[in-house]
Amino acid sequence: MGNESVRGTTALELALAWSFVGIPLLWGIYGTVANAMKLFQ
């Protein structure tokens, strides 16, 4: 963070960071669960 602002992390930054990794992960989990349902058909 060398010369960057000294302000703290905002809630928006946290939400963006978690969404950046969370959305692809949830997409992957959704597809896998949908595929896994074939086991119970």
Binding site: M1, F20, N35
Partner: protein, 459 residues
Amino acid sequence: MSVVSILDRSRTIARPGFSRWMVPPAALCIHLCIGQAYAFSVFNLPMSRLIGVTKSAPDDWKLTDLGWIFSIAIFFLGASAALFGRWVEEGGPRRAMVASAICFSGGFLVSALGVAWHQLWIVYLGYGVLGGAGLGLGYISPVSTLLKWFPDRPGMATGMAIMGFGGGAMIASPLSVWLMTAFSSPTHVGVAETFVVLGLVYAGFMLVGAAIVRVPPAGWRPAGYVPPVRPKKLVTMRDVYVYQALKTPQFWLIWVVLCMNVTAGIGVLGQASAMSQEMFPGRVTAAAAGGFVGLLSIFNMGGRFFWASISDAIGRKHTYTLFFLLGIVLYALAPWFGAAGNLPLFILCFLVILSMYGGGFATVPAYLRDMFGTRYVGAIHGLLITAWSVAGVLGPVLVNYIRQYQIDSGVPKAQAYNVTMYIMAGLLVVGLIANLLIKAVDDRHHMNPESADDVIGVG
């Protein structure tokens, strides 16, 4: 300001007000990408018909030759983690993450050339060697940083990152299939273009992680966190130098613990589809078996977060003891459930086993931190990854060869896995004994505080 200075450890020290909850997403940016390795098999069939397109031509690559790409990558994962662990630890997470992004993405781009020119050795060199090095650097890069940001919940913190490695394949597999479909034509398979796109997308994703990662300032503690006045018996407050750790029995006992835990899970993971169909002929179709594999992947991923978080409450040694005791019981019961035709309980057995397989990976960094301190835990973790490489060979070989031996000896296919499961239970007994032998590291192995400060100035 040079590019190199931006990567320095000193440039990643967090300013006051930085939220430590930004660090797990940074780690996940890396682990979600490198977790793609588990999905590499989706390229095998398409790469075996690059010339023939609809079916393999005589000059096309053979599946047996293509299988080496993944094996080389896993070998270089272990080798790079072991060789560069200290470099990663001392240079800080950003430098390691950028190096990992360059190697992993570069591996895809080099492999795209190999596919376009139909030169398999270039793919070995690209995804296998370069990509494998990126896997190893990426796997260990955020571990010690997370441990330093979350001294109150080290298991949960590393569990979140390593969960990403389990989840990466769930993203990569459908994404790769979709890209290959989009780039394919009646005369072209579309693998090279898919490699280029994946290489660029993964580079961008991993560099975002490198940009947002921070290390805590020296002496930083979470608000309200008070280190225990009297440390727990198996949690050291001091550090052990990376190569000194190799001289301790604790390192090798944890090595055996990880190796046995991984061996017991990895063989099943590779053979789950065939095993479920052969043990329940007529009841489990190929599509249902695919669903079983998917469920195993979800439990493998979820177990990484669940068990590593549990270990913060009950301790690392107790967590592994639970893994081994429960694993032994479940492996002993699985053949019985198979013989009784009880599919739900059979599935449940393996879901729990695979959750503990993932949990074993995710809990081990915190176990190392408890034993050897935080200073060199990333580098020591890198050395320990060799246990994974050994298990990666041992597990599948045991399952495949024992099954074949049983079938050759006249055992029906439905019962061909029984001996394997009893052997897996035996391996877990070995792991249990190793875990029970683990005691606190002897004082003579610890660094003195002065020399520790000389090695790394911050974080």
